[in-house]
Symmetry: C2
Subunit: 330 residues, 2 copies
């Protein structure tokens, strides 16, 4: 295992410190609970937080900023945050308008967030929860009852984050988040596995001529292992699985995301986007917004996921609102 790190134990801590050092003007940092939160959360705004396992960056620790998350409190690599992180982080950012928990659907996360929520509610904090489960690859999974939450999570944060800035109530945000979840679907694939720092060996291995369709972001088994093949065939299989699920229909305005798994160069992601754009055109979907890059990764895994979100006027408008996170070009 070769990684840019000092040692496996400090991987998450030093990553978060790096994000903090790069954004000291914007964030408060509480190392004891792996938490970054916005310095300037408006007192009358619902505060939004998330924190699943680390290793999926920019989700979630690098997605804190105006119009997105107000705080993140990730656990170790591929491990849910302990319940006290959830509890303490909730207390730090709570406003009179309440706190929205956005949770990706994994059993470990749900347990930590259920308990953290209960602890915070006992202190009178008003909390709403949205569960993200956009991955169509498999029903029930290694760490999931029901579908997994993956890159579609970004759209739930973006829509709720923008609406919260505009003054939406906690109840309105829960309803909005659930609407986005009902309209967003994803599927991923892997060319390679990845190596968690503390483990030191790959979570799974694929042969030189083998890929896995429907992979999870923690290496959970997908739908099937197949021979390496042209991107056209890969995107077609993913597109059909995603588009037939909501189902999306001719005439829909959609947002399309090609999300890199962490180790895939942007050149290849645009080659995949090209295939998705051609398929959308063929299916009669209008791509109103596109997203190509790393949004929800699995360490250095090579591969990508396809996410399609069915827009309506409200969601499209919210996606167009300004927002900022740690990740930026300029």
């Amino acid at each position: 295992m070769k990684k840019l790190m000092n040692n496996a134990d400090d991987f998450v801590k030093e990553m978060i410190e790096g994000v903090y050092l790069a954004n000291k003007d914007k964030y408060e940092y509480v190392p004891e609970i792996n938490t970054l939160y916005r310095k300037d959360i408006p007192a009358n705004k619902v505060a939004i937080m998330q924190g699943s396992g680390s290793g999926h960056e920019p989700a979630h620790i690098m997605s804190v900023g105006k119009g997105m998350l107000d705080a993140a409190c990730p656990g170790a690599v591929f491990a849910a945050p302990p319940m006290n992180y959830v509890y303490e982080c909730t207390k730090k950012i709570a406003t009179e308008a309440g706190v929205l928990h956005i949770i990706n659907n994994y059993q470990g996360d749900k347990m930590a967030w259920d308990m953290g929520r209960e602890m915070a509610e006992m202190e009178g904090i008003k909390i709403g929860t949205v569960i993200v489960n956009d991955d169509v690859s498999v029903e029930d999974s290694l760490y999931t009852v029901g579908r997994r939450g993956v890159a579609g999570n970004f759209f739930v944060i973006k829509a709720c984050g923008a609406a919260a800035e505009k003054g939406a109530s906690l109840e309105e945000l829960v309803a909005l988040g659930e609407k986005v979840v009902s309209r967003v679907r994803s599927m991923g694939m892997a060319l390679t596995g990845c190596t968690p720092p503390a483990k030191g060996t790959p979570i799974f291995e694929l042969a030189d001529d083998e890929i896995e369709m429907g992979i999870g972001i923690h290496g959970e088994p997908g739908r099937r292992r197949v021979k390496y093949r042209p991107i056209k065939e890969i995107v077609k299989e993913m597109f059909d699985a995603v588009a037939n699920d909501v189902p999306f229909k001719k005439g829909d305005r959609v947002a399309v995301m090609i999300n890199g798994m962490g180790g895939t160069p942007i050149s290849e992601l645009y080659i995949a986007y090209r295939e998705a754009a051609l398929l959308c055109e063929e299916a009669g979907f209008t791509i109103a917004k596109n997203y190509v890059g790393n949004y929800c990764t699995s360490l250095e895994m090579a591969g990508f996921s396809l996410t399609i979100l069915q827009l309506d006027d409200e969601i499209e408008e919210l996606l167009n609102e300004p927002a900022e996170i740690a990740i930026r070009v300029f």
Copy 2:
């Protein structure tokens, strides 16, 4: 070799088509010369272009946009564009104010751009040239007389792009570009090699316990191969090489970039940034701007480079001007 592509021959073409399909509202696309250019180049503005080999994305084909490049005309993967790409692209975007060629210092590129420039000048187009050579790793290199041009290139484009939007003349832009070049230094390292699509095998290989310090972005040999070691030691060696070169001095305001080589997850890049930020503090440099992400890559190579730019008021102001390229988060 497993890549998200249909076949090696179409790699660059389909990547550029993908970028175009994702940004049809902003770009014109001329497939015959691998060229994307801005639809809205102001008639009285100096037009800025670049185009080295492909495989370094987002440099250069994904760096076209307001306040950055007006056009890019890359060659095949790790191959300079043919001279006629340079010539034709120059003609497409030429304005009365002239055209600025920003070239990374490789012999192949210089030859193509010298000839392309000559052809365009014969038609009365006014052209200025800036050569970027920020890599302190080695003097003269496999494909270079003098130092190589790497990620520092981003700052030359950003500064000249912003100044051009504000009405700077061609002569002023050449002087500004040369000033940025005189103040920016970089050094890279690799954990792994990478595989050009047409070659199908890695350009070099590193053992499981081996890294290469001072690597070039086409796999050119660096300073030395050493045993894998903690990031603290890696960044220290790079920092010393970079900071002692200009040389930077206590009290300087600087921009710091941690540039991923293509296959490195953003988590590891922030761990590297943390080390660089601590060293800057120790050295008495004030980091006025920071950049962590993929700016000048080498396909799926794992590794990173450190770039430090010595700011003055003019450059700092230009870095803060608005700009946009194909790569974006929202």
